[in-house]
């Protein structure tokens, strides 16, 4: 169907009039006065912020943030100056922290022999013992243990028995639980039992 020339002319004329009217209206309006008249708080109160936040992809924003650059600009010294360390320490449950510490592991790492040799502890131990008599006993007992081991080794060799398969001692004395006050060896001697080699 061929376009109507009259309607085309009317349409272009209407377009020209509309453009002219808009320009005239824009010139006539005082934008600042109009904005002053708008109650922005009222508009904001109508905005559902939660809904907007729901639509924001926070992960994407975080990815764009250069954290290193922010950290570089932070004055850490100034922050530390403001921190009340004593107040923080007061809030720390020291008992809970101590409970988490594996004291046994720390002790295992200590070279007790070196410690005794280098400190006054050695002389204190020496003073607390009965001197020559205890040393003589130590010698006799150590020799006895040495000979016990010698015979045990040869007996096991003759019997073709593996020493590692033999029990070290009564169950309550060689287990870790035995180091408590219920240990008869401890109770009789007044000294702590030795650990398993």
């Amino acid at each position: 169907m061929a376009p109507n020339p009259i309607s085309e002319r009317i349409e272009s004329m209407a377009q020209a009039i509309a453009e002219r009217v808009v320009n005239l209206v824009m010139d006539a309006i005082d934008i600042d006065a109009l904005l002053d008249g708008i109650d922005v708080d009222r508009i904001i109160s109508r905005v559902d912020v939660d809904k907007i936040i729901d639509r924001v992809d926070v992960e994407k924003i975080i990815e764009r943030v250069d954290v290193d650059r922010i950290v570089e600009r932070v004055d850490v010294e100034r922050i530390i100056d403001r921190v009340d360390v004593e107040k923080i320490i007061e809030r720390v449950d020291v008992n809970a922290v101590v409970e988490k510490v594996d004291v046994g592991r720390i002790v295992d790492q200590l070279d007790i022999d070196a410690l005794v040799e280098q400190t006054e502890l050695g002389s204190i131990i020496a003073k607390s013992t009965t001197g020559v008599a205890s040393e003589v006993l130590d010698v006799i007992r150590a020799q006895g243990v040495g000979l016990d081991d010698f015979f045990a080794r040869w007996t096991n060799r003759l019997l073709r028995r593996n020493m590692a398969d033999l029990p070290l001692g009564p169950p309550t004395l060689v287990s870790d639980v035995a180091s408590g006050p219920g240990n008869p060896v401890t109770a009789a001697d007044g000294s702590a039992p030795g650990a398993r080699p």
């Binding site: 130590d138 243990v145 000979l147 081991d149 015979f151 009564p170 009789a188």
Partner: protein
């Protein structure tokens, strides 16, 4: 005296089954102590009788009585000491102790049974003691009868610390100089 108990021999032996040599030496020491105290007792009795009656007492004429006295004294010597502390004088010297088979303290009943069955281990050339040498738990016949075991009670760790503490100061100085000499130069 400067004797260093080797670490591999001494550390961590408390509560382990005691070996044949320690037990034999302890038993020999006990027999010596038992016999010595018995002889002293008889001598004291003879002296007291002489003071009272004016005549010396000849025990050779009353062998049955003296033997019975020796048996009773032996029973008291072992049973009383085991029941009291789990160890006799000889065992205390050698650092060993009698415990129940599970490691708990020995009871009076176990001590009495152990003492009464001790002679049984001597029969057939002491075959009952063979268990100490070849048994898995180093227990003699009388240990099995009484449900007991003998363990080391000596605190070898403390012995080692004593030895370390009593080292000659000159040796310690030499040792520290040697340590400094072997340390690498930090520069």
């Amino acid at each position: 005296m400067s004797y260093a108990p080797p670490v591999e021999l001494t550390e961590g032996r408390q509560g382990h089954y005691a070996g044949a040599v320690s037990r034999l030496v302890a038993f020999a020491a006990d027999i010596g102590a038992l016999w010595g105290l018995y002889t002293l007792g008889l001598a004291g009795l003879s002296f007291a009788a002489q003071l009272v009656t004016g005549h010396s007492l000849k025990f050779g004429n009353h062998q049955a009585v003296t033997f019975t006295a020796l048996v009773v004294w032996s029973f008291i010597y072992f049973a009383y000491q085991w029941a009291l502390a789990g160890k006799t004088l000889g065992m205390a010297v050698l650092g060993i102790q009698v415990v129940a088979a599970d490691g708990t303290p020995v009871t009076t009943k176990e001590s009495v049974i152990r003492t009464l069955t001790l002679p049984l281990s001597f029969v057939l050339f002491g075959i009952g003691f063979l268990g100490i040498l070849i048994g898995r738990e180093r227990r003699a016949w009388h240990d099995h009868f009484a449900g007991t075991a003998v363990v080391y009670s000596w605190d070898a760790r403390a012995a080692r610390l004593r030895w370390l503490a009593k080292q000659d100061p000159a040796t310690q100085r030499r040792k520290s100089r040697k340590t400094v000499a072997t340390e690498p130069d930090p520069v």
